[in-house]
Symmetry: C2
Subunit: 229 residues, 2 copies
């Protein structure tokens, strides 16, 4: 169809999340162009038809260009499309969310982004606050029944550390026995051969890492399930 209808503007926005000081933090980037130039917004940008295979690839590129990150867990969130969200007119944002371990953030040390505790963010340009809240709500909801939070962990981690992350996301404490049963059933982590040497005055914990196959397959499975959120 070569229709006369004016086409809406299409952008990709990414809610990039990490866990820092026991709280979820989201990345915001300084916007360079109008509208809202000079404001801190969710990292986003246009699709580059010549280099991006699909929306996910565009989101990956945006994360690389704006936050210097290479391969965080990334998934489509929801599309926000209406007449009011952008002053330029009818516009579409294919929103994604990404999880990244704090260690990755610190390693990349990208100064172009700033990290804000999500629960303290009260306003953002465009409808980015709504997008952010939708992403956070999705992550917390998935924490109830999936292994999503493992993508916030460093390369290896103990089950106690993982449990603390779940508890911080959910805002409530979990029973150790039940938690370990659940994680085992999900079958997404495996013991990491050599844990760090223990230097603590107590029994050292077994270290775990994400199972290779789980990394991809789980992401796929969760995507197919769709958003239970």
């Amino acid at each position: 169809m070569s229709d006369p209808y004016p086409q809406p503007i299409v952008t990709i926005d990414v809610v990039l999340l990490t866990l820092k000081d026991g709280e979820l933090h989201a990345a915001v980037a300084l916007r360079e162009r109008e509208p809202q130039a000079g404001q801190w917004t969710l990292p986003g940008g246009f699709v580059h038809a010549d280099e991006d295979q699909d929306a996910l690839a565009a989101a990956v590129r945006i994360l690389r260009e704006k936050a210097g990150l290479e391969s965080p867990y990334l998934e489509q969130l929801q599309t926000f499309a209406n007449r009011h969200r952008d002053s330029r007119g009818w516009s579409v944002s294919i929103a994604h969310y990404a999880l990244v371990p704090l260690a990755e953030v610190e390693r990349s040390g990208d100064a172009r982004v700033k990290w804000l505790a999500v629960d303290s963010i009260r306003t953002l340009p465009f409808d980015h606050l709504e997008i952010l809240r939708t992403a956070v709500s999705r992550v917390r909801s998935k924490t109830l029944y999936s292994s999503l939070p493992v993508h916030l962990m460093p390369k290896t981690f103990t089950l106690s550390e993982l449990q603390r992350v779940y508890e911080q996301l959910l805002g409530s404490s979990l029973d150790k026995r039940s938690f370990r049963r659940r994680i085992e059933e999900l079958d997404v982590v495996e013991p990491a051969p050599a844990g760090r040497a223990a230097g603590q005055a107590h029994r050292p914990a077994q270290h775990y890492r994400i199972k290779r196959r789980a990394g991809r397959e789980l992401a796929m499975a969760e995507r197919n399930l769709g958003i239970r959120d």
Copy 2:
């Protein structure tokens, strides 16, 4: 940003589903323009920036224009956006899915759409088969933990009828007691004052209807939860 990047094409596609002869059926419409003119595809179209408030409103309009339906249950599914799905180049489809009772389909009697049993559809133009399968998988998955299938029911219905619908969607039989407990807990239906007079040689069943508040609030809640699928 007034970027030099060529903008992708944006369309809205809708997977419209009903239950007929005990099987999920999807609506396909005869496509009038190139590419794929003369092919049966999912009902879809461009956003009309002047009349559509948002993507959902555009989907509502498309259903009205292409299938003569006024207010089926409608929800955003997922956005399909890549370089290969449309011969015109990089394109975006904000896909939605809709559920409608068979009675509504027959009442509108729109000849421009054809209904096909979803499990017998082997091919569709563009990536519409993938969109269809994603929608069907989402509906079946939501059937496991939500009251979504009530939107396939006529104005009033019995719990036995509702249970048969769940069983047809899931492809397995359910225990009567457990099913009734679940539906009661979901709190989405209420007894309909005057059931049809019974003319059958057995105890007549209580008729139910969707609770007014549940209709909206549930849809909202499910949307916020996101896609557990």
